[in-house]
Each structure stands twice: as C-alpha cells, then as structure tokens.
C-alpha cells in the first residue's frame, strides 16, 4: 500500500504536478517510441536506405 501512497503523494495529489507528469510523460514516450520504431525499421531495411550507402559518395573536406 505504501508504494501506491507514495505514487499518489508524488504524482496525483496536486493537479499541477499531475498535468505536468502527463505532458512530460507524453514527450518522453514520443521520443522513446520514435527511437524504438526507427531502430527496428533501420535494421529491417539494413543496407537499403540512403544513410546506409551515403558513405560511398560523400567527400569529406
């Protein structure tokens, strides 16, 4: 019960904190989700995308 109590006291007690948690959580989830999906997508399509063949053509100054 104490865990739920702690969670309640930290996140839910004050509405301002609750709303802030929702916004920050949405932001963090968005970033993490995008990274995760991109990682899967790039490994599924390994060697096919421009970023995989770009090194053959760029000349670094």
């Amino acid at each position: 019960m104490s865990l739920a109590n702690t969670a309640y006291n930290i996140f839910f007690k004050r509405n301002s904190v609750f709303v802030g948690t929702v916004f920050a959580g949405a932001f963090a989830f968005g970033v993490a989700f995008d990274i995760g999906v991109t990682k899967f997508y790039d490994s599924w399509n390994r060697g096919k995308q421009w970023k995989d063949i770009r090194h053959k053509y760029v000349q670094e100054e």
């Binding site: 999906v37 997508y41 599924w44 096919k48 053509y57």
Partner: protein, 331 residues
C-alpha cells in the same frame, strides 16, 4: 414485370375477384384473413390507371437512365468485336525490394535507375515533378546534385534590363525536359506523345510490374499481327502496337557501383527510380504506418479493457426479488 402487362390484362386481374387481387399484392397475408381496409385500398389505388402509368414510367425511366449512363441496355449481354490482346497482357507480380509493408526503397537501385533515366529515357521523356534538390539525401549527395544541376542551362529573368538570360542550374530547378512543348514531342516521335514519367507508376494499371514488363517485353509480332511502319510490338501495351521502340539493351550504361548493366537490371533500376519519383514519401509513410498500427492497436486494447472494467459490475450483478410475504392475496 408490371409494365410488361397490357392495361387490359391488368384490369382483368383486378376484376377477377377480391381474393385474386389481394394475394397478388398482399401475398404475405393469408387469403382467409381479411382486413376491412384491404380490399378497398387495393382496388382504389394499386389497381388504378394512375398506378399503372406510374409503374410504367418508373420502369421506362430507369431503363433509359441506365442506358444513358452505361451506354447499353441492362440485362442484355453484348458481342464485342475486340480481342483480349487489346487490353494488354497482364504483367506478372515481381518481388520488388520495396513491396512489403515494412520495406523501404532500395536506394542504391534508385541511384542506378536515375542514371538509366538520365542517359536513356530523358532523350524522350520529361520528369517534370522532380527537382534536383529532391535527389539530395535519396540517391545523391548535395554536392553531386548541385554539380549535375550546373551542367544544365536554365532560362531565368527578366533582369533589370527586362531581358531573359541563361544561367547554370541550381538545386531548386526542376529536371529539364527533352522538348519545348507537346507538339515538338509528337513531331519527333511519329505523332505519339512520350508521357511525363513523374507519376507513370501510379498512372498505369499494374504500376511497377507493368513498367518492367513493358521495358523487357518487346518481341517480334506473332503471325497474323501487322505492325505499322515506325511502330513496335509489345504484348503488354494495350493494343500491342507502341510507338516507343525497345530502348534497353545489355551494357547500355555503365554503373558506377559495378553492377552489371543487363537489360533486366536496368529495367528494374529505372522502375524503382520511377516508383520513388511517383511516391517520394514512401519510406516515411511506411514508418508512420508502423507507428500508427502500434498506437491504435494499443488504444483499442485499452478501450476494450476499460469497457469491460466499467461494465463488469453491471453485467455480473444479481437482482433479487423478494415478494412481500403475505398469505392474503392483495392487488
């Protein structure tokens, strides 16, 4: 059905007796059950001349409408003086590297396909919707694209003297077409217009499969098929006779990544390039598709859970009815 009957026949049916007419129009009701209003209304309206005229008008009108809309009478099969070859041979389905719902384009192939387009197809076909900058980060680096653009002269202006002037291309310029206008294009191709290739993959049935089949499908016309001078036989092209000659031959271009330039390799690469040109958002779109499917299926599962959670107590409750204990019956 009703309109086929003559007015006389209709009248006879109506006057044959109340039981006849009521089973005709109210077949669902058993004849032995008679409602007070049935007979009166059946005879007063359904058997009336007005109803006959209205039903005939509706029938004639809908047939006329159908004929006007589709160009033939309904329910009558037609005889066509055409042959299946007029529709073009159906292409087989090829295993494109970007075919699956999770698959991106093969960008090395796009790069080779651009080379084929530029060295072969661009002699006759424009690619109006692609600018040099679109190639950057897809098949070429910014430096390469800029260098290719600068090889082309563009008309710009007017300058402060009010005159148009020539300048080397920039990344923002669109790929130049081979002809100044459609008339010039037709004049150089025996009256046929080489279509713009920007959206050709979307503009043809069969898409990429069709284009690949078309480019590799040139054969001698079969016995009995005559092809006019200046035309070529291709079974995949509707009608069989196409103005575009076979353009791809083994070893026509030299790929900078060392891929052997066979006819089918070039056809595959240029088709992949044109698939990209028709759908540059393709890779990004599929990535968003993955995200959307994950998010929406999660939300769906959550909504099912919430529904069951909320309805659980309501659906599982038991209602007891305790009748008042009494020995004397009261109302």
């Amino acid at each position: 059905m009703l309109s086929r009957l003559s007015a006389g026949a209709f009248k006879k049916a109506a006057s044959a007796g109340p039981s006849r007419s009521s089973t005709l129009f109210f077949g669902a009701r058993s004849a032995s059950v008679r409602f007070a209003s049935t007979k009166a209304s059946a005879e007063s309206f359904v058997a009336s001349r007005t109803a006959l005229v209205a039903a005939s008008a509706v029938a004639v009108g809908s047939i006329a409408w159908y004929t006007q809309l589709y160009g033939s009478l309904p329910f009558l099969s037609e005889v066509h003086a055409s042959h299946l070859s007029d529709e073009g041979l159906h292409p087989v389905a090829y295993p494109w590297s970007h075919k699956g719902v999770l698959d991106t384009f093969d960008h090395a192939s796009i790069r080779r396909g651009y080379q084929v387009y530029r060295e072969v197809c661009a002699a006759c076909h424009s690619l109006d919707r692609i600018a040099w900058r679109n190639l950057v980060g897809v098949s070429h680096t910014a430096d390469e694209a800029r260098a290719m653009a600068e090889e082309v002269e563009y008309t710009d202006g007017p300058n402060d003297q009010g005159e148009m002037f020539q300048r080397p291309g920039k990344l923002a310029d669109y790929l130049p077409g081979p002809y100044p206008n459609e008339e010039a294009a037709r004049a150089s191709n025996g009256g046929a217009m080489p279509p713009d290739l920007s959206l050709i993959i979307k503009a043809r049935h069969g898409g990429a499969d069709y284009l690949f089949s078309l480019l590799t499908g040139y054969i001698d016309p079969p016995a009995g098929v005559e092809i006019r001078e200046g035309m070529n036989y291709n079974p995949y092209f509707p009608g069989g006779a196409i103005s575009m000659p076979r353009v791809l031959f083994d070893g026509l271009v030299e790929y900078d990544d060392g891929t052997p330039a066979t006819t089918s390799q070039m056809a595959k690469d240029v088709t992949t390039f044109l698939s990209w040109a028709a759908e540059p958002e393709h890779d990004e779109r599929k990535k968003y598709g993955i995200k959307a499917v994950i998010i929406f299926s999660t939300l769906f599962v959550i909504s099912v859970y919430v529904k069951r959670f909320k309805w659980g107590p309501i659906k599982n409750r038991k209602l007891f009815y305790n009748p008042p204990s009494s020995t004397t019956k009261t109302h």
